[in-house]
Symmetry: D2
């Protein structure tokens, strides 16, 4: 049994983590922290958990957490995870940060986009970017994992085989992403109100979203050269789900069937990536509540562009589920425990 | 291992059943039928199931089904289940019908409300109404179970302790239910279109809904006398979930705390019924994707009325989940297999 | 031309008022106040208004407002309207308060339910409850109007003919209301977030909602005796719309056709009330964006109960539209100006 | 007064047209046809229209329609409008077709994409593409107008100034569109059910959607050379609204402020196009129920791409509203009659 704790347990990421860890046969949940609800029971804050868990939410006491935990999940606002991660790693424990603080090898990029000073660049240097389908081997040996952002997870899985195989003109990548509202978390802000989001859509942070450099870091590593992308996020009236549509010009004439087969091959051993047959376009509901990333691919022969769509549940594969997947990799568990989830459809 | 088959596998009830049976450790799925999709793979019709199942949908051949099955689930339009159930029972196999055909002991009531002749009243006489929280003992020994309707499940669990304890004036019961759109199934009808349902509400079949006599049959049995209720169903812009608000006048002055305790006591051994503390009103999302029925109770002392709300996922506790629960009872399995589901929240 | 001002212009009530007043051929909009957005242009806060209005939001200066206005609309949190209304009336101007402060003749009832001391009971005594279909004559001569709450508007129009004609047992009234989320206004609170409301329903404030005494005040006046009701509000995943289902036992056997005709007769001269034929149940979308209240009626002969459903757009007939309707009555305008709105369907 | 008729009055396009024409001060509605509801009153099919109109739906009798109409709107499935339009034009009446049959100058393109033989290419040659912001002068003199598709309306208004000014590399245009479900009309199909669309998103017809050649036809005319685009439509869980995100590489370094000013200039006399300041991204709700197209523009200097988003209500500017706007142009009416609509927000 692995002893796991969650710091920041009452945000949407935290509560999703608790759900998965409750179901995990090899995990014991040790310590849950919450600033807003200290002293309350988690099942009083989230009554849907009644019957599954009976724990009090505590203040964040790192020493206590260290003392009882093997793995610590951090679900904190960016800028707050570094000092915590530092201490945990120093005690020889493992840390998986669901925020952005450990995602960047070059912390100056982080600082440029997040407008926060990074307090421990060397920790970030050693941390591993937690996308198991690309970085599994490194994750196995990592002490600190920077769990990917929701948009980057979908964009990277959509583009990885193309770049790895050098099939596209790297200057032509456009990533148009559509996200459900839960991506903004459980903060009480006007822009996340039902009345503002329902029956409504918008683009936001066009050309300026912080997930842009995260996508570029990984794509550049795979390509072996600097890659820049145009990334546009959109807010969609649904709670869970991201659909990313990625475009690029093929280096040479490509056939849809060949490209589809390439994707099938690339992900054949990846349980959580399902490549659909040509002509089938994945729907976000096909992955709701699960850790799957479903992919569809087409070649638009009129323009010689490839179009890839990837859908994930932003709260699972885009956050808590991937964190659980990373823990399973780090602990050398099989792929499934805690993640045997059938999508909720309809 | 129990060998189970599903007749009518591609409606919303059928596909939910498949999901649960796929997860069930003691069940082997043998035979799936579909009229509309005969010959196709279930995972091509419902791609969210890809990776969980790989079966072809077959035409309905009762002899073949009988030959390979221990338990057969029927998810057919009303009026079509009786001849099938008849044959299956005749072979000594068990049948759980998710439609209305086996729900009524008095088939003349069925015929009045469903405008269909019942072809085997004696089968219906022997069948058991599959609400385990009230009829568990009978279900254990049943060969044929009439799985309850979605509205009745919520209404009966809301009212059962009150009537059993003779606390209310039976002539004052009002049941105001609100249902998500999936209750209408997956039929291509204009009234179920997104454009007609989103941002919209309506009452329908006021005073005439077919679940009325089903509710009355069970309440009358519990009360030991004929009970009539006013039942109004409403259509709400959401996919899953029923919230039933039940009203009745108390026979004598009641205290909220006492009534709440009564409910807690009544359901303390029922894993799937969660009674919330006084002042907490259950939300349908607290049970989404699960077999739970969450209950809240208040006494309105100004009018001496009791108000009870019960929420269920109409596709799970209101249909497939309850069918699975019934199978577990009939097979003497523990309560949980196939139903260890944490609600999807948010 | 009437000179109108809005105090509290940037909440959902305020912005709806502005929309209607912009369209009103006999109104000049003079002064808009906002605490949160003082100094900004209203069309920068609400860009959908671009092209319709070009005004700066000002701090609340009653003397300035008085100097330029004939009618002042108040859209303030309860407890804040009395001193403002006092001053405006003292200057001989007219005031329409969209909050609760002027709705009660007996301010002790207000104080019991709102937990606020009422600072000017005599002003409240003279104010008129602004439901034109019942109180039109008084509204004509009023200086101060307490615009009804959203739930009471729907409940009172549903029950008025029955009580006026003494057709029901007054002790049996149950009002089960379902409201869209915009009823909670534009406040940044967790319970109004998209992720908390979408695909979700709940009852709330059962037996305790502040609209209860407001409904009872009007019903008691019509009945000529004290009437108590059970009122249960529910939150529904949609932005606009209330559907109220009202139940009562008929004093004698009633026929559906007769009752329907009664409703038709009662409201035949009320442009904004549309009574549908027997068997037709109004949908909230049939009134979206308009000042209509659509009504359906049935007699449940099995229980001798009458069931009435009434739908309104809670932001229009339930708030701003009714305020405009009241202004038209007070100014002796025809019924339509500013309210010639065709519902948005689908 | 113009005498107007609608052929195909009970689809979503037809009913929206009726709404607008009811409000139009210079239009008399003469003749409404419906295949499915012949003989019924339009207000019985669409009760939200009760009080606004009282007309019987008739079978399609072209001679009768011709005899009483000045302008005829066609809202028919593609392939059905040509013979009707032919007759109407032959009688010297004007026709506005909301389908695709008259949108193409080169009917072989139409035939390739729609898989239908075009029965009157010369009629199509003379017809005018009804996008007033680009083709106003031709529309003035047209007898037959092919009203644009919903996606093309948003895409063309988004791209027009860039191409007209030769600012972009024409080979780099990507159009990623997101549409509400009402775009699929009121057909009873499974893919449009609430349960299939809510909390769900997907791309569809990738690289193959019929609006592609329509967009290319207009862009090519503006550019003076053949333009090919990648166009991907997506289905979004909302009823009304399209958001189109268009991407292209700038021919030379561009500044956001300059580009924004260009758009402001281009559309300054177009009442229905609202260009928002740099950094403001239009939301579909800002135009709900209206004929507006709201536009936002950014230059992504890292990639030298321009990103434009345009939002419309697909049922208004994307269909019926634009048809009304075209009628106003053809009749030399002012811009506004029938279209003085304030958006429904929230």
């Amino acid at each position: 049994m692995v002893k796991a704790s969650v710091i920041g347990a009452t945000g949407y990421a935290g509560v999703e983590l608790i759900k998965l860890l409750c179901l995990h046969p090899h995990v014991e949940l040790m310590y849950l922290t919450s600033q807003s609800y200290t002293g309350q029971k988690i099942q009083d804050v989230y009554p849907h958990l009644r019957g599954f868990i009976d724990q009090e939410l505590k203040a964040q006491n790192i020493d206590e957490i260290d003392a009882v935990s093997d793995v610590v999940f951090l679900a904190l606002p960016h800028g707050h995870a570094v000092p915590v991660a530092e201490k945990i790693c120093a005690q020889g424990k493992k840390v998986i940060d669901l925020g952005a603080d450990l995602r960047f090898r070059d912390t100056s990029v982080y600082e440029d986009w997040y407008h926060v000073k990074h307090e421990n660049p060397s920790l970030s240097m050693k941390a591993v970017y937690g996308l198991p389908e690309i970085y599994r081997d490194k994750i196995k040996d990592a002490r600190a994992v920077g769990n990917p952002g929701c948009y980057p997870t979908s964009a990277l899985l959509a583009l990885y085989p193309l770049i790895k195989e050098d099939l596209i003109d790297l200057s032509t990548i456009i990533i148009d992403s559509k996200s459900g509202v839960s991506g903004a978390g459980r903060s009480a802000v006007i822009t996340s109100l039902y009345g503002e989001c329902a029956e409504n859509m918008k683009a936001y942070n066009v050309g300026k979203h912080r997930h842009t450099p995260e996508i570029e870091q990984a794509l550049s590593e795979v390509a072996g050269c600097a890659v820049y992308v145009s990334f546009t996020p959109h807010l969609i009236p649904m709670t869970r789900g991201i659909l990313t549509t990625a475009y690029a010009v093929l280096n040479s004439k490509g056939k849809e069937a060949d490209i589809n087969r390439l994707y099938q091959d690339y992900y054949q051993n990846e349980y959580f990536v399902r490549v659909h047959p040509a002509g089938v376009w994945p729907q976000t509901k096909w992955v709701t509540g699960t850790n799957f990333c479903d992919i569809g691919v087409a070649v638009d022969s009129r323009t010689n562009r490839i179009v890839v769509t990837a859908v994930i549940d932003n709260r699972v594969k885009g956050a808590a589920g991937q964190a659980g997947q990373n823990m399973n990799v780090m602990q050398d568990f099989p792929i499934m425990p805690g993640l045997e989830l059938v999508p909720l459809y309809p």
